[in-house]
């Protein structure tokens, strides 16, 4: 096993044994091979730096690199955006460890030798984020190799396999050239991804959110600190932002828009489809510290005379969001609120029982202008999971779920 730090500054000789220059940088070309060191930058003092290709390298050892070609066959160095530089883009930078689900800083890069016909290829196997890497970085070039190897052995290694390393590159063009995708991030739980994003810089956050699919982006934004969310949405392309807002629950979208400057939130509402925008607009009318400001307008309601069988059949045909399927709101014949049925009760009921027989006592509801204090108290007193909000005509206009209460209490 070799380390990038140990090889930096290695003297390089060509096939005839003539000195060429010192290694200054390693480049990976992700478009060709995701982990191969494709090019070596050789500096030659005041002369123009040269680049050796991976198939021009015969042997690699700390301090000493041999090529299998003549110096004349090396090409002069031209900066290339599609090359990932180990020193500049990796060392000391933050990366996302998708297996450990956190943001870490790279101390060193571990390389493995691989023999292919007549040349040696270096493959990145893992990045070192622990103390051994730090020791190498500190002493490389000023202390003998033996000493460094001995000191670093005193510390427990901490590394991340290259497959689990997700780079963060704020510039979308470069991201494309370097083949950086965030597919692996989409597999993480939105709450974990949100925590990762909070650890990154503003530009990096922006880059990640912009490249996620709308659904994941919406879920992540709902988990983020409110001020961060508004900063991110404000800078997104309005069309993309509107798509993300559409994916969010209307109450979350309304909370987000309430934090934005008036013009921006208007612009985003214009971009959204009519009925969703109307729903969010209605929610925006409520003071965020009242029941109306906390409620969600998407909920399941049925007539109280329907039987369990009918309701289940109807629900199967609907495209329902499972998050809202905790409690069903009942309406009487006058379309007024008449009670709620937790889905658990529905599960255990006989097929022919009507929902009116299943509803929980007592009948609870609050008007939208009730204060958040009242909401907390009623949840606490009756151990509720869902509370229905009704208007002056006793018509249900939304529900507050226990997770809305928890996040409000934590603020």
């Amino acid at each position: 096993m070799l380390y990038a730090t140990e090889l930096m500054g290695a003297k390089t000789y060509d096939a005839q044994g003539n000195y060429v220059g010192k290694i200054r940088e390693f480049f990976i070309e992700p478009a060709e091979q995701p982990n191969r060191i494709a090019h070596y930058l050789l500096s030659r003092g005041s002369f123009q730096p040269l680049v050796a290709r991976h198939d021009q390298v015969a042997s690699v050892a700390p301090g000493n690199v041999r090529l299998n070609v003549n110096e004349r066959s090396l090409e002069p160095y031209e900066p290339n955006e599609a090359w990932l530089a180990v020193q500049k883009d990796l060392l000391d930078q933050q990366i996302i460890d998708t297996s450990g689900r956190k943001v870490v800083r790279v101390n060193d890069v571990d390389l493995a030798e691989q023999r292919t016909n007549g040349s040696i290829e270096l493959r990145v196997t893992q990045v070192d984020v622990g103390l051994p890497g730090a020791v190498r970085r500190l002493f490389q070039g000023i202390a003998p190799q033996k000493f460094i190897r001995r000191v670093q052995g005193q510390f427990p290694p901490r590394s991340i396999r290259w497959e689990f390393v997700n780079l963060v590159e704020p510039d979308p063009l470069r991201r494309l050239k370097l083949r950086i995708t965030h597919e692996k991030l989409e597999d993480l739980h939105p709450a974990d991804l949100a925590e990762i994003i909070e650890d990154l810089s503003a530009a990096e956050r922006q880059g990640i959110i912009a490249s996620l699919d709308e659904e994941t982006a919406a879920e992540v934004l709902a988990e983020l600190d409110a001020r961060l969310t508004s900063q991110i949405v404000e800078k997104l392309d309005p069309e993309k932002a509107a798509d993300i807002l559409e994916e969010m629950a209307p109450d979350a979208a309304a909370d987000l828009l309430a934090d934005l400057p008036k013009e921006t939130s208007e612009e985003l509402l214009e971009e959204m489809p009519g009925h969703e925008a109307a729903e969010v607009r209605e929610l925006l009318e409520f003071d965020p510290s009242t029941a109306g400001g906390m409620m969600n307008t998407e909920f399941v309601f049925v007539g109280e005379d329907s039987t369990r069988e009918d309701v289940l059949k109807w629900m199967r045909e609907q495209d329902l969001n499972l998050d809202q399927l905790d409690t069903i709101v009942l309406l009487d014949r006058a379309a007024q609120y008449s009670g709620t049925v937790p889905v658990a009760r529905l599960l255990l009921a006989e097929p022919e029982q009507t929902l009116a027989e299943l509803k929980i006592e007592p009948l609870l509801s609050l008007p939208p202008d009730a204060s958040e204090r009242e909401v907390f108290e009623i949840f606490d007193k009756y151990n509720l999971r869902t509370l229905t909000i009704v208007d002056e005509d006793k018509r249900p206009i939304g529900v507050i779920t226990v997770d809305d209460v928890v996040s409000k209490l934590l603020k």
Partner: protein
């Protein structure tokens, strides 16, 4: 008289007045709320400046040279604001801490040595803070074997037991106690107008005939230069820049909230200097006016006030010192361990559990423990430590300031938010001035250390 109608009429009058006030305030409500949401880091960071070492220096300056040092406060406010504002701006624009940026742009080795230097400088400062606790409680007749361990335990517990938000609220409310210096100064009954006059540059006031008789001209001697440099050195410290930038990042301040943060830094810088003004005026109008020019430490300054300005002035001065020392003793170890862990890639932050951030908490605890142990058993070296920490401070500040200036002017990091041309001039000039002055302090402290081998 107090019948029902009367009371109701009164009440109506009050509600109407309150309504009128609110109608003025309401359009700004959002802005005020925004300011309150991001306020804190700037105010805290500048007030911690007035720590044990700081108060000692200000008291000394006032006792030795009276009002003639006051003119330096306005340029110092500008330098403090300019240097802190750059860090706050970097935090808001890049979303990264100063140590992160230095690590990313200048590499591991530079960062490592910088962190070692910061660790030593701040350890010296922490020791000085606990010495301040000792000085202050001594004037109340409390043994240091009681007060100092208790203080150590208190600051340790505040951070380990509290959440970030709560700790910040505690810190912000502590800022109010600094007002004790203002009251203490009033007890000293200074000539306020004359003191205010000395805020202007002496060269200017000296040439205005009407005020000339009231103005004392500064004696431009070597001793005076050292005191002046000491004022700057204790006011602008390297750790502040790291603390402020990290706090701005932690508060999620973005470009849109930045105006409020800038005001926070501005208010902080000015309020810090107002306290300095009152401390100097207080000691100048008592100690200096009565010929007491040399004081051993900040505690003796408080005691010397007793016969001259009364026991309340003395007690308030000591209370202020105790408060300032405790405040700085809780912030410095915290900020030090935070910055070091961030830069070297260890988990950090007081919202993490002990098992998640062992090194962070270990460092934090060790810094406090060393401060306490030092004062208990090696207290006689207090002045030596104070001098050494000023020497190291003097060598570290230029390095940090130059890193800050390089980073803040990088377009790839800051975009449009690099320093404006005029601002950059002010920043470079005040940096160079600070560097020269801190080097003067470092040199004179070093000479003193050499000439008086540890007794």
């Amino acid at each position: 008289m107090w019948n029902r109608e009367n009371i109701e009429a009164q009440w109506a009058g009050w509600t109407e007045r309150a309504e009128r006030v609110m109608s003025v305030v309401r359009p700004y409500r959002h802005r005020i709320a925004l300011f309150l949401a991001v306020v804190g880091p700037g105010l805290i960071v500048s007030n911690v400046d007035n720590d044990a070492g700081g108060i000692y220096t200000y008291a000394q300056a006032g006792a030795k040279y009276g009002n003639t040092v006051l003119w330096s406060l306005i340029p110092m406010t500008i330098a403090l604001y300019v240097s802190l504002e750059m860090c706050a701006r970097m935090g808001a624009v890049t979303g990264k801490g100063l140590s992160d940026l230095i690590r990313e742009e200048f590499g591991f080795r530079v960062t490592f040595f910088l962190m070692v230097a910061i660790l030593f400088v701040n350890l010296g400062n922490v020791m000085a803070e606990f010495t301040g606790v000792f000085w202050a409680t001594e004037t109340f007749g409390v043994s240091r074997f009681v007060s100092v361990p208790l203080a150590g335990l208190l600051v340790w517990a505040i951070v380990v037991a509290g959440t970030a938000k709560w700790v910040e609220r505690v810190f912000l409310s502590i800022c109010v106690v600094y007002l004790s210096y203002v009251i203490s100064a009033f007890f000293a009954k200074p000539e306020w107008l004359i003191a205010l006059l000395h805020l202007l540059p002496p060269q200017l006031t000296h040439y205005i005939p009407t005020v000339r008789p009231f103005v004392q001209v500064p004696p431009f001697t070597a001793g005076y230069a050292v005191i002046l440099a000491g004022l700057v050195g204790t006011t602008i410290a390297p750790w502040q820049h790291f603390y402020l930038q990290a706090a701005v990042v932690e508060k999620r301040v973005g470009p849109r909230q930045y105006a409020a943060t800038r005001n926070d830094v501005l208010v902080g810088s000015i309020s810090c200097m107002i306290i300095v003004f009152f401390i100097i005026v207080c000691t100048s109008s008592t100690l200096f006016a009565n010929g007491i020019h040399d004081i051993d430490n900040a505690g003796t300054a408080a005691l010397a006030l007793k016969p001259l300005a009364g026991k309340w002035a003395s007690a308030l001065f000591a209370l202020g010192l105790l408060n300032a020392s405790l405040f700085a003793a809780s912030i410095l170890p915290l900020s030090t361990s935070y910055v070091i862990c961030e830069a070297l890639g260890f988990e950090s932050g007081i919202d993490r559990k002990f098992s998640e951030a062992k090194i962070f908490y270990a460092l934090y605890t060790a810094l406090i423990a060393m401060g306490v142990v030092f004062v208990l058993f090696l207290g006689r070296f207090a002045n030596t430590i104070l001098l050494w920490s000023q020497v190291l401070n003097g060598f570290l500040l230029p390095v940090v300031m130059i890193f800050v200036l390089i980073l803040v002017n990088r377009r790839d990091l800051m975009g449009e938010r690099t320093n404006a041309k005029g601002f950059n001039w002010v920043a470079w000039i005040s940096t160079v001035a600070m560097i020269v002055l801190t080097l003067v302090v470092a040199y004179s402290s070093l000479r003193e250390l050499m000439s008086h081998p540890v007794s």
